[in-house]
């Protein structure tokens, strides 16, 4: 019998060998695919908002009483269990992203492309992998550390994937990756216009500063944020409310954003706009992740950040849209809003042009302030802090006065409060409360069922423990 008759190559799908050898853009597209994971539903959308915002004191579940968003009610009132779906989504989405980064980092060295590009791509993938692990370690503590493409037919790879590294080991890996990124990446201004949105040296330094802040390596935080400030790459956008509009995407304040494309073919952060849109009469979404009353009250009088962050029902938005007074919930997240009349869109509400801001310059200043204060340099801290407050005044006088207290504990509280109102709904609040060691205290004051020693970490997803045959260990208390 003729063997060749049965030898049919795959139709319309490239094999890895052919792809790597014949596609000139293979290297870049491998890394682009890592970025692309960040727009997926299970990465940075509903579940991620659930654990970073709804579980925090900044947001409530929202929506209608009967619509739980599968488990967002449980996240809101701390009744979640390891089986709650959001954890498995976040876990799975991030490991998918890590796998793509590993594909890139495993294959890039062998590809014959020019070294400058290769080094930059290695830097980008390293940054992204570090960011993914940073999210995981903040949410779950130590997690399995996968730094190579894992082979499902390899017993040792299976085994390795079922053992949790310690949080310290994960942080060490993150730092290694970020140092690689810092060494290999260009500054934001050195990128071609067409590559705007790729991670830069400044982004890598900012993330390393943030990672160091979580480990209380204050000298590192201060050094890196000083470098970013001194780099001249970034500045504060004068109008806080405009930060969330299309016009400010990748703008002067932007350090790292997830890029959304709102024209055909759409590549936006899936469901990010729709799941947080106003619900009910004349609404545009499901109405989840709504600003809490506690957050609304946290703003000082005259703080432009309140109106920049919170949509109140019955008000008119910047583009003229009127939010019905009969909307289901009293408040919605303005930072997730996309204008259909004044911004690029094609009617697709699932994938919009909204860029999700991950790192921006105001946070560099706040980290700088926090580190300086922790290191006893209160004057330096106040300088950075007051720059952020100054912008928040929006040009008004007599509101948000410059802070002057140099008492370390007072200043610490002031910086923390400033972080909250400046960075609300930017996916940090829950982690900040835990990092600051006051989560139990804050939640208790709100009457939430937060259990100290347990809820500082989210549970390892039950399906993953099951898949590991029980080898993956659960966090304490679950």
């Amino acid at each position: 019998c003729s063997q060749s008759f049965l030898d049919v190559p795959p139709q319309g799908q490239q094999t890895p060998t052919d792809f790597f050898s014949s596609n000139a853009d293979a290297a870049t597209s491998l890394v682009n695919a890592v970025y692309a994971k960040m727009v997926d539903w299970n990465f940075h959308s509903f579940s991620w908002n659930g654990i970073t915002s709804i579980a925090s004191d900044d947001a409530d579940k929202g929506s209608s009483p009967g619509d739980t968003g599968t488990d967002k009610d449980q996240l809101d009132n701390f009744s979640f269990t390891p089986s709650s779906i959001s954890f498995n989504e976040v876990w799975g989405g991030h490991y998918e992203a890590i796998a793509r980064a590993n594909q890139a980092l495993d294959n890039l060295p062998a590809l014959s492309i020019n070294d400058t590009l290769k080094n930059r791509l290695i830097g980008e993938a390293s940054f992204l992998r570090a960011y993914f692990y940073f999210n995981l370690v903040r949410a779950f503590g130590g997690v399995p550390l996968i730094t190579k493409v894992a082979d499902p037919t390899s017993q040792s790879d299976i085994q390795n994937g079922r053992v949790r590294s310690t949080a310290a080991q994960v942080y060490a890996q993150i730092e290694t990756d970020l140092n690689t990124a810092i060494a290999n990446l260009p500054e934001k201004s050195q990128y071609n216009a067409a590559d705007l949105g790729r991670v830069s040296k400044g982004a890598a330094k900012t993330l390393l500063a943030k990672v160091s802040m979580y480990q209380k390596k204050w000298d590192v935080v201060l050094r890196l944020t000083d470098e970013v400030i001194a780099s001249g790459q970034y500045s504060l956008l004068p109008n806080y409310g405009e930060l969330w509009r299309e016009s400010s995407e990748n703008g002067v304040e932007s350090i790292f954003e997830i890029q959304g494309r709102g024209v055909t073919p759409n590549k936006g952060v899936q469901g990010y706009f729709e799941s947080q849109g106003a619900r009910g009469e004349n609404g545009w979404g499901w109405g989840f992740n709504t600003p809490s009353e506690d957050l609304a009250k946290a703003y000082e009088t005259g703080d432009t950040r309140r109106t920049g962050t919170i949509i109140e029902r019955g008000t008119t938005l910047w583009d003229g849209r009127v939010v019905s007074p009969n909307a289901e919930n009293p408040r919605y997240n303005y930072k997730a809003y996309v204008s259909f009349t004044r911004e690029t869109n094609n009617g697709n509400t699932w994938e919009t042009g909204k860029n999700v801001r991950v790192l921006r310059y105001a946070e560099v200043l706040l980290m700088n302030a926090e580190a300086a204060n922790e290191l006893g340099q209160s004057a330096k801290a106040l300088t950075a802090l007051n720059r952020v407050r100054a912008r928040a005044r929006g040009g008004a006088t007599g509101v948000l006065p410059d802070l002057t207290s140099t008492v370390q504990t007072n200043l610490r509280q002031a910086i923390w409060r400033e972080r909250r109102v400046e960075l609300a709904f930017e996916h940090d609040r829950y982690f900040d409360l835990v990092r600051q060691g006051r989560a139990a205290e804050v939640y208790r004051a709100l009457g939430k069922n937060f259990v100290a020693g347990k809820h500082e970490l989210f549970p390892i997803p039950q399906p993953q423990i099951q898949l590991s045959g029980g080898q993956l260990t659960q966090n304490p208390g679950y």
Binding site: P16, V34, A36, P65, E249, G260
Partner: protein, 983 residues
Amino acid sequence: QDQQVTGRVVSKTDGQGLPGVSVLVKGTTTGTATDVNGNFGLNVPSGAVLQFSMIGMTSQEVPVGNQTVINVQLADDARALEEVVVVGYGTQRKIDVTGSVAQVKGEELARQPVLSATQALQSKVSGVQIINSGAPGQAPVVRIRGTGTLLGGADPLYVVDGIITEDIRNINTADITSVDVLKDASATAIYGVRAANGVVLITTRRGKTGAPSVTYDGYVGIRTPAYRVRMADSELFAAYSNEAVRYDNPTAPLPFDPATATATNTDWFKAITRTGFQQNHALSVSGGTDRSTYLFSAGYFTEKGILKGSDYNRLTLRLNNEYTLTPAFKLGHNLSLANDNSNLTGTSDPALPSTAAFSAFTNAYKQAPTVPVRNADGSYGFTSRNNVANPVAQLDYTNYRSRGLRLQGSFYGNLTVFKKVTLLSNFGIESNGSRAYTYNPVYQVSANQRNLISALNTGRSNSARWLWTNTAEYNSTFAEKHTVKILAGYVAERFQDNILSAARQDVPPQSNYFYLNTGNASTATNSESGSIQTRQSYIGRVNYNYSDRYLLTATARYDGSSKFPTNNRWGFFPSVGVGWVLSEEPFLRGKTPFDQLKARVSWGKTGNDRISPSAFLYTIASGLDYAFGANQTLQQGRTITNLIDPNLRWEVTTGTDIGLEFALARNRLTGEFTYYNKRTTDALFTRPIDAIFGDVDGSYLTNAASVRNRGFEFALNWRNNATNGFSYNVGVNATINRNQLEDVQGGLPINEGGLGNGQFTTRTAVGQPIGSFWVWQTDGIFQTQEEVNNTRAKVQGTKPGDFRYVDQNGDGVIDDNDRVFVGSYQPKLYFGVNGGFTYRNFDFSTDWYANFGNKVYNGKKAQRFGNENIEASRADRWTPANPSTTEPRASNAVPIASTYYVESGSFFRVNNVTLGYTLPRELVSSLKVSRVRFYVTAQNALTIKAFSGYTPELPGSNPLNAGIELSTYPVTSAYLAGLNIGF
């Protein structure tokens, strides 16, 4: 010159006159029928030969010569011995078959007003389960002897005149001579790696030597919903919804003002449905000479479905000719062309754009009766209190159309050499093109039902197949006792398909502009994919018959397929069957009541290769693009996202079959008992894998499961001979099947049956039938807050009036560990009853079908988000004043998957009742017409079911989530009148 012949036809058995015997001058349409006493009279040309025939009796031919009186004795048909069935690559006498083969004649199928033959097969054959869909143009799901696979595709293989295919909707039922169902491995192993789900062989009609025969069969009629679910009216709905809100917040404003809510009372089901219409016309011309035979047929079928806008039509043409070049050498062809057109109802190609119109049924079920179809100003009604679309608007804004053109044919040559060897070469071709589009206009009904930018999605799918079969068959008898038949063959096949799809936005809303060019070029997207599959096979079969007493069949197929990696490419599929015809044993002959008694046993291996080509290769996923730059320009993203098993192989089914066939009472009672046991190993399974591997769907396809189906089949048929113009027949058949997933190597159970609201309902787990419902067990209702407080194991937020769920493991928490298996959609027993009689010129027939022991899930009732409509039966719900123990309180919470929504799937249905009247021959012969019959028929006129939903026939998209009623097009009833004319 003509001469008058008279005579009498009597039964050889008892000498009684036989009425209604057809007396025909051979080669003509001239003829008559005997009267009540068996007498006949006829003018015949000289040299004529008379044919005497009657169902149940052996036909006879008598040359007239110069006789004027011809008396004839007809013997009881020893039908059971002479019946011939179609087996793979040939035919066999039924008595020689050592496996399980069932045959249904075409005329039995054509009696039912259905699109495809498999729909009419329901209730006819034991071991064959047919699950119908009500949607126009849809193929039913066919399961032969249970579901033997999880993901590999459980449909049987179809072979139409030797062409292997997957879909038989292109075949006009009127063109079918017989459908033969091969059920056990002894019968199917000759089809090797594709035979595990059973094989359905379809043989189309051919011309017969003689004068041209023209027939017309046609019917017209209506279709109506078989069942309506009684929904709440506005008053009940408003009261319920208000109550639900107040439980959550006693001071909340009432969502529905009781004073005004009842002003509108919309019957949404009525608003989206209509009386359907159906018609079918089939015309055929056939005939032949010694040198050639021909058959030409044309058919036209249309159905307007009960869902407004859903319709389907099909035109079929067929030309089956055979040319006898020399007595030993024949050439022939079977050609068929089918063109179909459908609106709002799907093509079979999942790659093409498809419709979401069927969800209108669910939306009609859920939409509030307080909402008008249209407001006074003409706009569509909606309520912002729920997320349900206005189903009338949904249908109005849904544009979906598909067309298909399919050519299928085979060309063959048949050469007999040395009288004992027959060489056959058959080249089959199939070309199938379909096209479909969806157009989504700009509209705004409500915030939840709107579309801001119009879009046209269009797709083309083309496939081509050739299949070349070459066989040689040797047939000989030695010493008058040893009959040997040996078949050897080689088969090669190539299949190629290609799917192209494209879309643009900003296309104008008139249907004459539904072309891509009218859209905005800058929004254009397109994609193309395809596959090529090749196969090579060697087949062999030996039949041995000793004295019609001992039978042996051995078959084997050596199959090679491009779908598998080189090291797993070739497979060997053997089978062996033995039979013992006890009734032919000299020591038993005449000493038992049996006219025929045969025992048979078979064993064999078959395979299932329904898996996408190249599934064993790592490939690069494309389209993982990401926008960079100020203009959000996409840059290509590609990487490996999907883990694969490099050693994938086909599924293997090993089966044993033990049967007993018998005939009693002068062959009037025939029957068959069969036990079967088949086990599928290496069943494809998406093995869940730790998320750390980063697989895109958290699992990879591998051969990891084992499934067993075992059961009993039994069939009994009684057919009496005509006396006094009356004859009747009754048949019953029944199947008991037990399905079980036996093993999954290292894998976890698969949860499926998601309702889109966070709840899933089925689990496929070891020890259970595939796709078993896995839910919480309700245990009454909490009556008081005190009772709630005193119960540890409860769902978060439980209030009085909510269900209590059984804490199966007693750990004080209601979680997945407390779910229980409560049955599956797979029936434990199904049976059919067929019967009919003819009395003089009247004929009557009926088919009944029943299905027992399976479960269905009321998905539309369980898929709530808040303020959807409820069924009228919810009037009896729990309230503080009405302490129900079965119906929970009003609530807007997402319903928890529980036994409350699991209902019995058992049903009994009168599939068909037909009453016909044939005009007396004397009357019609004067009109130069040989036969005129009028009939009325009712399809699905009566259904008795336990399920409270629309239909218990719920095939689902795959065996893992079958049996859930959600967005289901219900099975309908039809009432039709028809006409058969023969010239």
